[in-house]
């Protein structure tokens, strides 16, 4: 993990989403890890913003992110132009398991909203390793579905769900999961809105190993400030763990509050 000034080489906007490519010295990462990103924007916002890794090049010189504009920091990230300097600290946090389930059975990846980028990164890694992947993405309308081109590029044809049925199944992405569970997948990995994670954890409980990636209000992103903690229960003992360090990926069974 390093913290150094990188610079933006590409900023492709689509609606409220921008795909940012940063160039610099990149330390190899795993899907689920993230960076703290901050441009040279004076005093506010004071802190960097945690953004999941969408992918990186083989030459370890470029890393890509998908950023949704929701507030001041993400809007400033959207406004970055090629050549602009960005302080990038990472890769940070733990990552999704890349093995540990019966290789014969597929794994189900559930993604929604800003949770899609890390799952696309995970899908690309798993497909390289030849694992069977069922990728389910949910969104409000078909306009809100993300990174379909990238999924196609890695040869993954996603199962889609939209609230308005404008594309794929009309309803929640977790309804797709319910169907998939009948085929006894080897594991379920999810990243997205809290409600989606909660439903996912509920469906998998006691049936399938399920890992979810959490969000949290982060100060440092690398484990020193203790602002990002969440309650994790193991062997009946509940304790605070750092979403930025022990997480962001947690075994859903260890998050009873979810």
């Amino acid at each position: 993990m390093v913290s150094k000034p990188m610079h933006l080489v590409q900023n492709v906007k689509r609606g409220p989403y921008a795909t940012l490519t940063l160039r610099g010295e990149v330390i190899p990462s795993h899907p689920g890890q993230f960076y703290m990103l901050r441009g040279e924007w004076g005093l506010s916002p004071l802190l960097g913003r945690p953004i999941s890794i969408l992918g990186e090049d083989a030459g370890h010189s470029e890393v890509r992110f998908l950023v949704k504009a929701v507030g001041e920091g993400s809007r400033l990230l959207h406004s970055l132009k090629p050549g602009d300097a960005v302080r990038a600290t990472g890769p940070l946090g733990n990552h999704f398991p890349l093995s540990g389930w019966d290789p014969q059975s597929p794994v189900v990846l559930l993604a929604g909203g800003v949770g899609v980028p890390p799952m696309v990164y995970l899908a690309s890694r798993l497909s390289e390793s030849g694992a069977g992947i069922v990728f389910c993405q949910g969104a409000r309308t078909k306009e809100d579905l993300l990174l379909l081109d990238e999924l196609e590029a890695i040869g993954v044809s996603p199962h889609l769900a939209t609230d308005d049925g404008s594309l794929g199944h009309k309803g929640l992405v977790t309804e797709l999961l319910a169907k998939e569970l009948e085929y006894q997948p080897g594991a379920v990995f999810a990243c997205g809105p809290e409600a989606m994670l909660r439903a996912t954890a509920k469906l998998c409980k006691g049936k399938v190993p399920c890992h979810v990636s959490l969000e949290a209000a982060m100060g440092c992103g690398y484990g020193v400030c203790l602002s990002c903690v969440t309650q994790v229960t193991r062997e009946g003992k509940t304790a605070n763990q750092r979403v930025c360090k022990e997480g962001p990926v947690f075994d859903a069974e260890a998050l009873p509050w979810l």
Partner: protein, 314 residues
Amino acid sequence: MAVNLGVKVGSLQLKNPVMLASGCCGYALEMEEFFDLSLLGGYCLKGLCAGGSEGNPPPRLCETPGGLINSIGLQNIGIEEFLGEKAPKLRRVNSVMVANFYGHSVEEYAAAAEKLQAEPCIAALEMNISCPNVKTGGIAFGTDPKLVQEVTAACRQVTGKPLWVKLTPNVTDITETASAAEDGGADALSCINTYPAMAIDVERRAFKINTRSGGLSGPAIKPLAVRAVYLASKAVKIPVVGIGGISTWADAIEFILAGASAVQVGTALFSNPLAPLEILEGVREYCERHGVGDIASLIGAARDFERPACNLPR
């Protein structure tokens, strides 16, 4: 030109005045992933207490203009686990380690100090009587001069290590608590901890921090902290360590000119873990540029502004 960046904080020699502030560098091991800790003058560990603490429920942090509010509530692994698990890993670090600690009563403070006394790699103790985020202990002890002296004396009794007292700025007159700590036997003052503050999310009409109030840190508080350091250093004979919003080399020099013998970098670490090294380099260049052979000569060296009645900033 050779610049001597070494400073003394009481009996303690630091290779340079740049330290890491408590609660902003964990137990220091996380920082080692970014740079070699032995490059710095020293570092202060996250506040420790006997038995440890789970701290406050989230949300624990929010941003404000030029600053941030935190309410961690002194979550820590406890002195015992620290001494067992972390300390051994830190012994090889060639830099001054300061153990920040607290309790919920005078007795607990003394007991904590005594527990830490044994560990050889701890160079000094920093007594935190200024955390705004715990109900008992913390700030409660830091605002009453009598209590400040009492709890300082109690810890002084049980430890031979240099004892730093970390003051809260949340007092009418910081010279009173500063003097009380000196009278209690403190070897140095850490000036300052966070300022009690509050933020409200207007869209949700809810407090942004679970405990409603939290502690404000970052650039926003720098001018308040500079004054606190100035006043405290004028009021006591023991050295003062400057803390509060330091994020550039110029900030560090400003605190030293105000009267600080060393400085601690806190919040600035979050957005840039390498800030301490950049500050250190900038301080060195400043000294070279100004022909300062010994940085100690800058401590408290700020002069009055001499201008005609004309009102020009320069």
